[in-house]
């Protein structure tokens, strides 16, 4: 988890994360461009991508490959959306990557959400059996698979997203299909409550 305040801090964190010198320089440039381009996104997704609304996903602190992949899928019309296709189409691939680079180095903010304690408990057990393989550390870590962070994501948004995935409206869900086919919709609902109940920093 990165924390940064202001452009310089964000760039140095991006640098630390990026590795070799040339890659670091490109990364810093992308974050700088991304900061400028990202401002209008925050009107819906919250300041630095930390959503304040149940319906809107948090994108600040989400992993870069997932952000960039989602934006390109919206642009190409391969992921269904109400507004994001019309938005993503306005940017070049380089700009979409810069947006992803900027949001990826913001903190993933996890304020308390209203969840059902029974579902959270049941969800944890299911998560450990079926989902932890890819959504590591209660959904807070993606160091192994390139699956998105789920811990602290907005519950209402995840529920809506899951309906989309289960209905086969996203063609990238294949990677997760095995796990989802083995459990009931109630089980899935319970795991989402478990993810939504996660607060604070990565332990």
């Amino acid at each position: 988890m990165y924390r940064c305040w202001g452009l310089i801090a964000c760039i140095s964190l991006a640098l630390a994360a990026a590795g070799p010198a040339a890659a670091q320089k490109n990364k810093a440039k992308a974050v700088e461009l991304g900061e400028m381009l990202a401002q209008p996104c925050m009107a819906c997704h919250g300041t630095r991508g930390a959503s304040t609304e149940q319906a809107m996903p948090t994108i600040g602190g989400q992993i870069e490959s997932y952000l960039a992949g989602s934006m390109k899928a919206y642009r190409d019309g391969t992921r269904p959306s109400t507004v994001m296709e019309r938005i993503a189409k306005a940017y070049s691939s380089r700009e979409l990557e810069a947006l992803a680079a900027y949001f990826a180095v913001q903190p993933f903010v996890r304020p308390p959400q209203a969840t059902d304690p029974d579902k959270v408990a049941r969800g944890e057990a299911i998560h450990m059996r079926k989902c932890n393989r890819c959504h590591l550390h209660n959904g807070r870590d993606t160091s192994v698979a390139e699956s998105p962070l789920l811990a602290g994501q907005k519950l209402e948004y995840m529920q809506r997203n899951m309906v989309e995935i289960l209905a086969g409206r996203r063609n990238i869900e294949i990677r997760m299909k095995g796990a989802l086919l083995e459990i009931t919709p109630e089980d899935i609902e319970a795991t989402l409550h478990f993810y939504a109940a996660q607060q604070g920093e990565l332990p």
Binding site: W5, G6, L7, E35, M36, L37, Q39, P40, M42, A43, C44, H45, G46, T47, S51, T52, E53, Q54, A55, M56, T82, V83, R86, I87, A88, K89, A90, Y91
Partner: protein, 423 residues
């Protein structure tokens, strides 16, 4: 400012009815000694509040002062839904306490009388605030002289515009509640550019939704100075046809030129109309502060700016954002104001840090609700090119149809916008 410019400023400032003569104030004492490079933002609306916050996020070394006349702000977006009954006005109210505590912005509550460009300070009744950069975000004023018989101090009581604060919409709603079933509502719209034309068509939809539930024998006549629906025309047309057929009568190209408010009459070139409730939205100009400070351009109405830094075309170190800005084509909206506020703040932080500002891309996302559930959006993208905003060739556009899902996101957008400017 040169001698002539300064005289013009003093004249503009002093000429204002009801304001104390400005000359002695120019010598008034500094209210707050600057704690570092200082940016004073005037106006805590959708443009100014987010600009102040973004400045502090970009650089903690900046001394950011936000001047606002009111201690609380009632947002206009979503306030139309109060008429339809799907929102309470309290949900639109905010204050600035958390901007102070979370971001270290200094709030000064009071009326900014003028920006003194030569002295580089903002003049308030109590004293002055020196600045390195000033951001002027005063919203709109009305061109009441455009309508014969319009008296700024009286007419809005009789013919509410409900166009400068969410609170005014509660008064408009009360009128509709008091009206008999079978009554006539007239809504008069000016020619663009004015504050958020899309909101005007949403207003009509929300009045229609209310009447359909509560007073189904009533009717709305729309007198639009524009020849046709100016934004989301196809969707509003389709939605009105589907839900409000016979309830809304739309008349394009009908500018109200004269009124008799006491007898509840509106006059256009074609007709004289008497209505039970009149929602008269007058033609508009940049807010009074921009007029008083000599910041309006050749058109005498709006402030010309550079669309990279939002620096005024007529005064250096002075930036103007929000509805007061002259933009060709770009809708005056909270969404635009928010985008401009942030771009301007980053440009100023960059300039103070010795970085060269770079042209930016702006988007305007306008959501509207047709009834209590269904929403749609219009999205437009622009890039700044000197004093112009140029529409992008790609991206943007309107929703394919009204949908409940966009209704959900319309409410989320509003919640997020209010949180952005106040937390």
């Amino acid at each position: 400012m040169n001698g002539a410019g300064r005289r013009r400023f003093l004249k503009a400032a002093g000429a204002l009815a009801g304001l104390p003569l400005i000359t002695p104030l120019l010598r008034a004492a500094e209210l707050l000694p600057p704690k570092g490079p200082r940016v004073v933002v005037v106006g805590g609306g959708f443009a100014g509040a987010v600009a102040a916050k973004t400045l502090r996020m970009a650089s903690r070394d900046l001394d950011v002062v936000l001047v606002e006349r009111n201690r609380s702000y009632t947002a206009l977006p979503g306030a139309n839904w109060v008429i339809g009954g799907s929102r309470r006005i309290g949900e639109n109210r905010l204050n600035y306490d958390r901007l102070e505590s979370n971001y270290g912005i200094t709030m000064v509550y009071g009326e900014a009388l003028a920006v003194d460009v030569a002295a580089k300070n903002v003049v308030l009744e109590a004293g002055t605030l020196a600045y390195d950069h000033v951001v002027v975000a005063p919203g709109i004023g009305f061109r009441s002289d455009a309508i014969e018989g319009y008296v700024p101090a009286e007419t809005p009581e009789l013919f509410p515009h409900a166009w400068t604060s969410g609170e005014e919409i509660v008064a408009l709603k009360r009128r509709l509640e008091d009206m008999k079933d079978g009554g006539l509502v007239a809504v008069s719209l000016p020619l663009p550019p004015y504050r958020c034309p899309q909101a005007a068509y949403e207003r009509i939809s929300q009045i229609a939704w209310y009447l359909k539930q509560a007073k189904p024998r009533s009717k709305i006549v729309v007198l639009d100075a524009n020849p046709g629906i100016a934004v989301l025309a196809e969707l509003f047309g389709r939605g009105w046809e589907r839900d409000y057929k016979g309830l809304i009568e739309y008349r394009g190209g009908q500018a109200v030129t004269k009124i008799d408010a006491a007898r509840s009459r509106l006059v256009t070139a074609a007709e004289t109309l008497r209505a039970d409730v009149v929602n008269l939205i007058p033609p508009q100009i940049a807010g009074a502060l921009a007029q008083r400070s000599g910041l309006v351009g050749a058109d005498q109405r709006w402030c010309a700016v550079d669309h990279t830094t939002y620096e005024s075309a007529v005064a250096s170190g002075v930036h103007v954002i929000g509805d007061a800005v002259l933009t060709a084509g770009m809708q005056k909206s909270a969404s635009t104001a928010n985008a401009q506020g942030k771009a301007c703040a980053l440009a100023i932080a960059g300039l103070l840090g010795g970085r060269k500002p770079r042209p930016n891309i702006y988007s305007d996302v306008g959501y509207s609700l047709l009834n209590d559930r269904e929403g749609a959006s219009a999205i437009a993208f622009y890039r700044g090119e000197g004093r112009q905003t140029v529409p992008l060739e790609r991206g943007g556009g309107a929703s394919p149809d009204w949908s409940e899902l966009e209704g959900v996101y319309a409410r989320a957008w509003l919640g997020s916008m209010i949180a952005e400017m106040s937390t």
